[in-house]
Symmetry: C2
Subunit: 334 residues, 2 copies
């Protein structure tokens, strides 16, 4: 099974309004509520791909209860969130039905106390060393999992998103080292200082976008920036290039892949779908180019879905067959 | 004590952002949560004026629990909300700290079932006939109340705001008749068809703004529209004229009052403060011009307060001494 960590979970609200008018009053036509935060989004996509996922991180207050109620309805996802005194944040995405654009409002996360951080670390250590179940999800659906021997346990960890106030900025480095000590590979998807610090613990894969990569390496050219991230500690780097797809730099080679044609839609959650594609390919033992193709196809299928962060399985299957993956040769040293 | 009815309660969230950018992503600086819906806002102002208030209406789901937790912290307010299966709505007000403007998003209210509507009617009937307490609020603060004999009971009812789906459109007419049968005067603050239907039950006072009044009477000139509302059943009409103050048309005379100077600020909740001013003046037995002056001063003090729907007691006291009330004579029939 796969473990995703979301320290700054959120209750994601999507409001559809006929047209967004600043300083106006809007009657919201439709409200969609979902458990949010990057690691929970990744888990939902993994579940849709048939992978059992355990989610941990923090949830608190009545908004946290609301999030956990919604999470309990998702098949293939096990809730191991740790309670907090402070209330889980909300995010509000306002979709303008006339223009199609989305305007996002993110509440600040609750402050995490030292005791809560300790409780999380205990939960994380326990999960990493859990023997796992019987390899099935318990609802009769077949599971695509990395443990063909039915042994369960954690096959991979994804560390996702921003850190709430109170959590040490080196948190992801520490969590990466612990996972490695338990023999579990780590995918790290964060930005800024938490990413910079996390790199030092040598995560197996990081998935920054070009801007995030430039932010920590000082280099805007994606390939050079990915190489710089490797020198700082990442084994492999999957740099998302927005509508141009993704660049993957690994010890075994480099590949670039893009969708078959340019796509318009809502990019919210596209990066989380890419992480789910890479993670599922990792635990299934797929070759790198297939992992990359899956990440790009899932990401594009998410952009095309009517609801932010969802993806259409048919669109995904169609795109998967048409994503072009090209192997790159080492450029001349710049 | 005063009873306020809010059938479509809301958890009001105010988000402060540095600058509102449509299609942008905003980190919310500060979140303020308050129990909302017009009748709850009226109750909060009444409480600040020293009047014990009982609030009823509906609350449900985890958002309803959040609302009731916040309500429990308010002195002078007793929660008699009736549970619903559906979840209480949220409203989100986004305040642009650069421009000062506010953009409002209102979720739709939950559907009220026939059983829930019956449960509300039973609660309402019980409250109308309650003998009341000992005339004090129980927390040692002196109470300004209409029942000098200490007998408690309901001195006035305010019926406030929109109707959630499932509640009959004639609800306010029915609730007005029941209050009158119990000998309790009624202030009605709603709009559209619920107001039009409510007028037929002869409420003691209605408080539409000029637009709402025009909507049901077809007349944009406030005095003529107020007269038309009286012909349709209202004993008295307090028409809010925005920054120009308020026009009061009663069987005993007509008055108009405005703030001493034009005010800038956030008008959210100003109408609810006006209702609280009129209601408190009613139960204290003040003459009409004093009720009107209080309504205008409270309304203006609310516009000037930094937080939507709050008012500054000093600003209120200062304005109250400077509001000008002018008696109008009957105009020539138009």
């Amino acid at each position: 099974m796969i473990l995703t960590v979301t320290l700054n979970t959120a209750l994601d609200l999507t409001y559809r309004v006929p047209r967004l008018a600043p300083e106006g009053s809007h009657q919201v036509r439709e409200v969609v509520q979902r458990p949010g935060g990057k690691g929970l989004n990744v888990a939902r996509v993994l579940a849709a791909l048939g992978h059992r996922t355990v989610v941990t991180g923090f949830a608190g207050g009545l908004t946290g209860s609301e999030l956990r109620e919604l999470l309990a309805r998702e098949p293939y996802i096990t809730d191991e969130l740790v309670p907090t005194q402070g209330s889980t944040r909300r995010t509000v995405g306002v979709v303008d039905e006339a223009g199609g654009g989305s305007t996002q409002f993110n509440e600040p996360g609750p402050h995490i106390s030292p005791e809560e951080w300790s409780a999380f670390q205990e939960t994380y250590a326990r999960l990493l060393r859990s023997p796992g179940g019987d390899g099935s999800s318990g609802d009769g659906r077949p599971e695509r999992d990395g443990d063909e021997d039915g042994g369960g346990g954690v096959d991979a960890v994804a560390l996702c998103g921003s850190l709430p106030p109170g959590v040490p900025v080196g948190a992801y480095a520490q969590l990466t080292r612990e996972a490695h000590a338990a023999g579990v590979p780590v995918v790290l998807d964060t930005s800024g200082e938490p990413l910079r610090r996390g790199l030092a613990a040598r995560p197996d894969l990081v998935k920054p976008n070009a801007g995030e990569l430039a932010g920590i390496t000082g280099t805007t050219e994606p390939l050079r920036a990915a190489r710089a991230a490797q020198r700082r500690g990442a084994h492999s780097v999957a740099a998302s290039l927005g509508p141009d797809g993704m660049l993957l730099v690994t010890p075994d080679g480099m590949w670039q892949a893009g969708p078959p044609h340019s796509l318009t839609g809502n990019p919210t959650g596209a990066g989380d779908s890419a992480v789910a594609g890479l993670l599922s390919g990792l635990v299934e033992g797929l070759p790198w180019p297939e992992r990359l193709a899956r990440a790009v196809a899932l990401s594009a299928a998410t952009v095309r879905a009517p609801t932010a962060g969802e993806f259409d399985e048919e669109v995904h299957a169609d795109l998967l067959s048409r994503v072009t993956v090209e192997e790159s040769s080492e450029p001349a040293p710049g």
